[in-house]
């Protein structure tokens, strides 16, 4: 098994007729993902990469039986598309775009929780289950099948960590980008819970970064609930105080959210803290991970 998606997941692509939407649809299909439809209001009836395009999410769900959606929608339109998608009964939504106004993200998160659906992002590369499929933008060449779960706030670092493991012949069960904004649609601890319950995952790597309190809260969950080995890396040791380091969530204010505070919280929870990504290979060997 895997978490969040498997080979039976039926995906629609919102914003499929855009430049990025169509290229990423191509890569998802190449990887074997069941992309069953796309949605762009006003472009219904056409096809992209052989996939039928619909005017509404409701129409796409009715015709294709889709149960997951990935967004390549301009940031200003994401809130509207998100509410439409939840109302159409989709149970998993991956919000790839960056720079979505945070007041919109708060509404999206509250609506997703109220309706009991799962959503990732914003600013996420999505999910990849090696050998089975991917929802989002992760470049397939870096991943290999195995039993280690990865959760990352950063997109590109999720590729890096998977790549380092794959080079050491350690594969991944599921790789999840949780998103890099100050407010995300699913918190780190909730994704950890899914990995803890997943029979296909033996250990989990958390790739965190400065800012916010996701890691500190996750440490509490790990201490209380996790039985599987967990390792963590936190990027941003040399990030200057008060500077926004690209991600909306990556900013240190005062002593909260620093690399040191996060590492300390993880250590206290029994998590192995990796000083640098390359130590990942050693950690995997030590725990005999595959």
């Amino acid at each position: 098994m895997s978490i969040l998606m498997d080979e039976s997941t039926r995906v629609i692509v919102q914003g499929i007729t855009g430049r990025i939407g169509s290229i990423q649809t191509h890569w998802m299909l190449v990887y074997g993902t069941k992309v069953v439809g796309g949605v762009t209001p006003g472009k219904g009836g056409s096809t992209v990469e052989g996939v039928p395009v619909f005017d509404s999410v409701e129409g796409a769900v009715k015709e294709t039986g889709a149960n997951a959606s990935v967004f390549f929608v301009p940031a200003a339109f994401v809130l509207d598309a998100f509410l439409e998608t939840v109302d159409a009964g989709i149970k998993l939504i991956v919000v790839v775009p960056e720079h979505i106004p945070i007041h919109d993200v708060m509404k999206m998160r509250a609506y997703a929780i109220e309706k009991g659906i799962r959503a990732l992002g914003p600013t996420t590369p999505g999910i990849l289950v090696p050998g089975k499929g991917k929802i989002g933008i992760m470049p397939a060449s870096l991943f290999a099948q195995g039993r280690v779960g990865i959760i990352s706030r950063s997109g590109t670092l999720s590729y890096e960590f998977a790549g380092i493991l794959s080079e050491s012949r350690v594969g991944q069960s599921t790789v999840v980008g949780m998103g890099a904004d100050h407010v995300v649609l699913t918190n780190l601890a909730d994704i950890l819970r899914l990995f803890e319950e997943d029979g296909a995952t033996d250990a989990v790597i958390i790739v965190g970064e400065v800012g916010g309190e996701q890691e500190e809260r996750a440490a509490r969950f790990i201490h209380e609930k996790m039985t599987k080995p967990v390792a963590a890396y936190i990027a941003g040791r040399y990030s200057p105080q008060g500077k926004q380091m690209g991600h909306a969530g990556a900013i240190v204010r005062g002593s909260a959210g620093t690399v040191g505070a996060k590492q300390e919280a993880f250590r206290e929870a029994g998590v192995e803290v990796l000083a640098s990504p390359i130590h990942l290979a050693e950690w995997a060997r030590k725990h005999n991970l595959k």
Binding site: A76, H99, E167, V183, Y238, M245, G249
Partner: protein
């Protein structure tokens, strides 16, 4: 984007929050003029975008013209925490019978606005949280329900206030929440909210930071964000659509993600010093990486450049063409190391190699930084 106090005070006033009589002054003469209109004593407040101005000596009272001249001359053009004071806010100096605190910010973990009120104003709320938590009341707003005046009154009842103060303060909170929404704020704060001897309230300070991602749709006039960025290289970064942070080392950095960029800085920082942080986000094109090279190379004393990019959402083969074009046009002499993996990686390596870039094909950034270290001669 954080607004200056005088800008935020104008916004608060327009939203119906009571603020002091005031005027902005860029010269001593202007300050004299404003103070003459308001009447002495006045407060002179340095307009710099940094916390703790008061403690750093940037806020002073003047009781007459001579004092004002002396203080204004000293403050204008001085630096507070490294920022030049270009303007002074001149306000009436009021009699204070009590100082309160109210702020609204976003709780990132719950994903909700949180309203914080305290009967301990004029000090940092973090400090009060440690010393007198019983004097703080807070409320998380349901983003789908909104915030209503009765909730402000319920919140303030927890602080055990008299009826008149409670009603007046609840009104300020409702207006502040309205401001928070209208301006798509990350934070709005009044510290202190002063209770005057006659019982009326006055917002003696004003903090407002708006969400940069919402700038284009906020319906009210706002200052120009780009013009506000003081560092010319950081401003140039914004103009071309990347995040650039100026640092004091000599290894240039271009990365295709924020996390990757921060990790690259951390690894470079072990043995060398990064000259900058630069992350492109998901917008790489040939032209963008050409502009990134221009930007990074604006620092004249670089020893090397490290390019760390992944082809997920980004067409890195296109980006590589932009780097190669820059190298050809400018005959770059310093070593450039590139780690580029993902979609179109082989094509990307080929373009880089033809341009004389050192290509590293392993995933771990440490391997690429080791190569960089060898190329610059292995010294700090």
């Amino acid at each position: 984007m954080r607004l200056h106090e005088f800008e935020a005070a104008n916004v608060f006033e327009a939203m119906g929050i009571p603020v002091p009589r005031r005027g902005i002054a860029g010269t001593v003469e202007e300050a004299l003029l404003v103070a003459g209109e308001i009447g002495y004593p006045v407060m002179l407040k340095s307009q710099v975008l940094v916390g703790g101005r008061g403690l750093a000596g940037g806020v002073k009272a003047a009781y007459n013209e001579e004092e004002l001249k002396e203080i204004a001359e000293a403050l204008l053009g001085s630096e507070i925490k490294g920022l030049a004071v270009q303007n002074l806010l001149v306000t009436e100096k009021v009699d204070i019978s009590k100082e309160l605190y109210v702020g609204i910010t976003i709780d990132g973990y719950s994903g909700k606005p949180v309203i914080v009120a305290s009967t301990e104003g004029g000090v940092s709320i973090e400090k009060t949280a440690h010393t007198a938590p019983e004097k703080i009341a807070s409320f998380h707003v349901d983003p789908l329900f909104g915030f209503y005046p009765y909730q402000a009154r319920t919140l303030l009842r927890k602080l055990g206030l008299g009826q008149n103060l409670l009603i007046a303060w609840a009104d300020v909170i409702s207006r502040l929440y309205h401001t928070f929404c209208e301006y798509e704020a990350l934070i709005v704060e009044i510290n202190p909210l002063v209770v005057l001897p006659n019982g009326r309230l006055l917002a003696v300070d004003a903090v407002l930071e708006v969400d940069n991602s919402a700038l284009s749709r906020i319906k009210h006039p706002l200052p120009d964000w780009l013009g506000r960025i003081e560092n010319p290289l950081e401003r140039k970064g914004r103009e071309i659509g990347v995040t650039y942070v100026d640092l004091d080392g000599d290894i240039g950095l271009i990365s295709s993600g924020a996390g990757l960029g921060m990790a690259s800085m951390d690894i470079i920082g072990e043995k060398m010093r990064p000259a900058n942080f630069l992350e492109t986000g998901g917008g790489i094109t040939e032209d963008l990486l050409h502009k990134c090279m221009e930007l990074v190379m604006m620092k004249s004393d670089l020893r090397a450049i490290f390019i760390n990019i992944y082809g997920g959402i980004n067409p890195i083969h296109e980006g590589a063409k932009g780097v190669a074009r820059y190298i050809k046009e400018h005959g770059v002499k310093i070593p450039i190391v590139a780690k580029a993996l993902g979609n179109h990686q082989e094509e990307t390596w080929e373009i880089f190699r033809s341009a004389g870039v050192h290509v590293v094909t392993e995933a771990a950034t440490e391997k690429a930084v080791e190569r960089l270290f060898e190329l610059v001669g292995g010294s700090k």
